[in-house]
């Protein structure tokens, strides 16, 4: 009776470095802690050694992971097997552009020390496993609104 299996789009988002350290993990499906660790370990292993001449889509269990590498960081999205791969691939890039804009020339260290901000940005970008806002400007403006409140 739970139709979420059919229509849920993004199941989780991971941001990991080459060594497998998680820099951001957001799950839109309820998973146990131990299961999350397993997922993070497996996804890292799946993407870290893939050649850039291969596709950016890898099957993962009964789903697929769309990933993209930026310098030493891997951004991975787990989506449904029938989902539009390229759309999610560019979704990753848009997210990176937003981070880059926000931190002006983002690097891994920015994401480590400001992990809380990254969560905030993500919440403006994706909600309930769906794209919420695709305007970079709208998100950046929202972030400065929020910063004024603190």
């Amino acid at each position: 009776s739970d139709i979420s299996i059919l229509s849920l789009q993004i199941r989780f988002i991971l941001l990991q470095n080459r060594q497998g350290k998680t820099r951001l993990a957001k799950y839109y499906v309820p998973l146990e802690e131990s299961e999350k660790h397993k997922v993070e370990y497996e996804v890292h292993r799946l993407v870290v050694n893939r050649d850039s001449k291969f596709t950016n889509f890898v099957e993962f269990r009964t789903h697929k992971v769309i990933y993209r590498r930026y310098a030493g960081l891997f951004f991975s999205l787990c989506v449904d097997i029938t989902d539009n791969e390229l759309a999610y691939l560019e979704c990753i890039h848009l997210f990176v552009e937003i981070l880059d804009h926000f931190f002006s020339n983002v690097c891994e260290l920015d994401l480590v020390f400001n992990f809380h901000k990254v969560y905030l940005i993500l919440d403006e970008f994706i909600l309930a496993g769906e794209l919420q806002e695709t305007s970079k400007r709208a998100i950046i403006e929202r972030m400065s609104e929020l910063e004024k409140l603190e």
């Binding site: 009776s1 139709i3 299996i5 229509s7 470095n17 080459r18 060594q19 497998g20 350290k21 998680t22 957001k26 799950y27 309820p30 370990y41 497996e42 890292h44 292993r45 799946l46 870290v48 050694n49 050649d51 850039s52 001449k53 596709t55 889509f57 890898v58 099957e59 269990r61 009964t62 993209r68 590498r69 930026y70 310098a71 030493g72 097997i81 539009n84 791969e85 390229l86 759309a87 560019e90 890039h93 848009l94 552009e97 880059d100 983002v106 690097c107 891994e108 480590v112 992990f115 919440d123 909600l127 309930a128 769906e130 794209l131 919420q132 695709t134 305007s135 709208a138 409140l149 603190e150």
Partner: protein, 999 residues
Amino acid sequence: MSGMRGLSVFISDIRNCQNKEAERLRVDKELGNIRTCFKNDKGLTPYKKKKYVWKMLYIHMLGYDVDFGHMEAVSLISAPKYPEKQVGYIVTSCLLNENHDFLRLAINAVRNDIIGRNETYQCLALTLVGNIGGREFAESLAPDVQKLLISSSCRPLVRKKAALCLLRLFRKNPDVVNADGWADRMAQLLDERDLGVLTSSMSLLVSLVSNDYEGYSSCLPKCVKILERLARNQDVPQEYTYYGIPSPWLQVKTMRALQYFPTIEDPSTRRSLFEVLQRILMGTDVVKNVNKNNASHAVLFEALSLVMHLNAEKEMMSQCVALLGKFISVREPNIRYLGLDCLPAVFVGELLICFMECVMCQMQRMFNRSSIRKNIMQYLSTAEFSMREELSLKAAILAEKFAPDLSWYVDVILQLIDNAGDFVSDDIWFRVVQFVTNNEDLQPYAASKVREYMDKIAIHETMVKVSAYILGEYGHLLARRPGCSARELFGILHEKLPTVSSPTIPLLLSTYAKLLMHAQPPDIELQKQIWNVFKKYESSIDVEIQQRAVEYFELSKKGAALMDVLAEMPKFPERQSSLIKKVEDVEDTADQSAIKLRAQQLPSNALVLADPQPVNGTPPPLKVPSISGIKVGISSNWLDHESASQTQSQPNGDLSKVQSQIPSADLLGEMVDPLAIEAPPVDMGSHQRVYREEDGIPDEVDGTAIVPIGDQANKVEPIGNITERFNALCLKDSGVLYEDPYIQIGVKAEWRGHHGRLVLFLGNKVTSPLTSVQALILPPAHLKLELSLVPDTIPPRAQVQCPLEVMNIRPSRDVAVLDFSYKFGTSMVSAKLRLPAVLNKFLQPLQLTSEEFFPQWRSLSGPPLKLQEVVRGVRPLSLSEMENLFNSFRVTICPGLDPNPNNLVASTTFYSENTRPMLCLARIETDPADRTQLRLTVASGDSTLTFELKEFIKEQLIAIPMGSRALVPAVPVPAAPLAQPPSPAVDANDPGAMLAGLL
């Protein structure tokens, strides 16, 4: 949040920890501290609470269990001020999920924020519910969220969150949104101008129509309007265009929603939609910019999917097919894969039955255009290993479906076998045989075609099989042609016998028997030759071979009876293509496969219409003919990840994987480097080259492998560096071992357990024969080597294949040498060549998890089973380069097992007759301050193996040969200096060779 110094200090502390233990200590200390503070709740300022909760989230992200403080996080939600409230919301949504009881405590506070007047609080609350809300939230909050979504006084900011929050609640309990009451509102929402709200609303709509498309039919024309607005770029603010494309995501979503409606009845809506789709199909070009390309093709693929779903007009369908042909020729792997993936989906889903004719013409034109066929073939040779078999199967199905005539089909499949034999499954050539058998006209043609292939120097075993079968059955039809007499056919087939594996031999024997039978008039000489072959195999250890040899021998003595028994094969019953069946079989194992869903559902749209909601609670079939088509090898269960991960690892040391491991720039560099936003897939290939220049050590260190006999007599110089060639072959399984102006010796090897089979290809490059050819093997004590007979003469421009069987008796690093000589004219040429039957060939890559690794590691304690050594004078390598090096000789690095990031642990299995499969473990502890030294520990269940493997690894790591060979116990020092295998340490030292090996 700014100025939270405590948090930054804590993060710095963690980053400065030298190893995992130190990190754990620091984390434990912090957790203890937080726990104490939370206990004395009284004195805790909201600021402190906030700081501690952030720290908890950070610790959680590092992978530690945080089993307390949830209450504090949840309680911050009801804090009066924004900063604390915000932290409460965010941390709660990360630490808890819908199944946690604590969450229930927050329902009231959350509801108060949603119905309250503070917009910021509304946003926080909607976000929490959208991300982790469960059934209880759905029941108590849905009406409030709906109100916010349609409220005209709310900013778009709140409304878009409300839309997705409602989507979440609907997923948790579909009853909370009822089409009767909501469809009109939903349709109104689609008139929204703000594209943020529209994007979120469209996601909501997709979910709603997937559940009940009839209830939301009023939304259909609105979706078409939105698509028109976007595709024509009308009223789309600049900020919503992505690389010039009006929100590709909203376009994709809208088309996704449309695919849930089984058909579009209103003619004008249908017409408008087709106009837009036409525009998308025609207007998408391949451009240089990766992002633009991806985005436009995301839209294009969705449009293709929609067109196919709608059973569009013929012209449009043929446009689609033409487009798919175009994708295949795109260089970019993602798009190319999706294009290829989509092609067979067209047939398997039988979506196009009514349009088959038109598509066929189109396809035929396309497939006939050799450029596209070439593209597919080329792609096969560069495609990822696991994909190739799937792709070749698809190509074969394509050919079958769209073959203009059967001879064309035979051509294509033979070409496929020739180009990508390794990935052509038996089903494919069985199908060719079936066609040929059932079509008399085709038989002489097929026989002459395979006869042509038999003239090629090296042909794939599958080609041998299909040729043997066809020539046995129909070779006699060619009898009058030159080079096609029974005797000649036998000669050319029998040449291949030494190179084939044992399952193919019985097939060849049957062919010989048939050739013999068909030889008219009877050929006594041929009979003698074939009987000799049968005699030879009468004592084969393979039962199948033995039985056939005996039976055919006896039968062929009986003359007439032979004719009956070996009569031509009868026609095969016409049935479904075994290839298509194979695709379907594979799909049946993939539970969620889109294709399977489609196959069940598409031929019967009417049925779906009549009964949209299946009984007994099974989820309704997804009515999306997604373009992403077949996925062979998807494990059927979300939990069944073993098989999924296995498909990733290649048996037998797949070198393309090694190559894929990119040496990284130093770690700190990566940490502060900007994320290379302009060019995402960073090409690190140049690092290798840099390394090569820096460490370039002249590679003629070891030229002793070739030793001229009789000094001056030998004026023939080898082409290329023999050492380099040997080194390369140590890391891969086929390539050139030796070459001079007259001869080229190639090697192709297969390794299975402690057995190996090397085929030496001796190719005469010139137009006069090479005589007095001699090949002697100087075997080391630990290898059993058996070289088949080498002919005395190699005819002009001919290639002779000499299989060499190898068996590994025990672990040793000694190397076998091939003493090879021949005469060209009057000059004698001789070379001593090391054979790449080296220790690492008997290793099988093996990756262990920590649960597997550590118990073994502990159980092997101390010498002689576990040996440790501090190795100095190591060639400086970064950790990732070292990982590559290890993986390249099949000692598999197990990432993440060693808590200290400066260490590597690795595992592999060694095979020899004495040891049987033996697990080997290794640990390398590096010193980041001094990369020229490291501590190496090797363990296995056999002391000789441990020692040999340790020495082997050392040799790979060290720059200067240690000259320690004489110290090796139990290995006699070879008497002849020539047979002394040069230390592989030299090899590893030669970056050129190493690169060659990696490539």
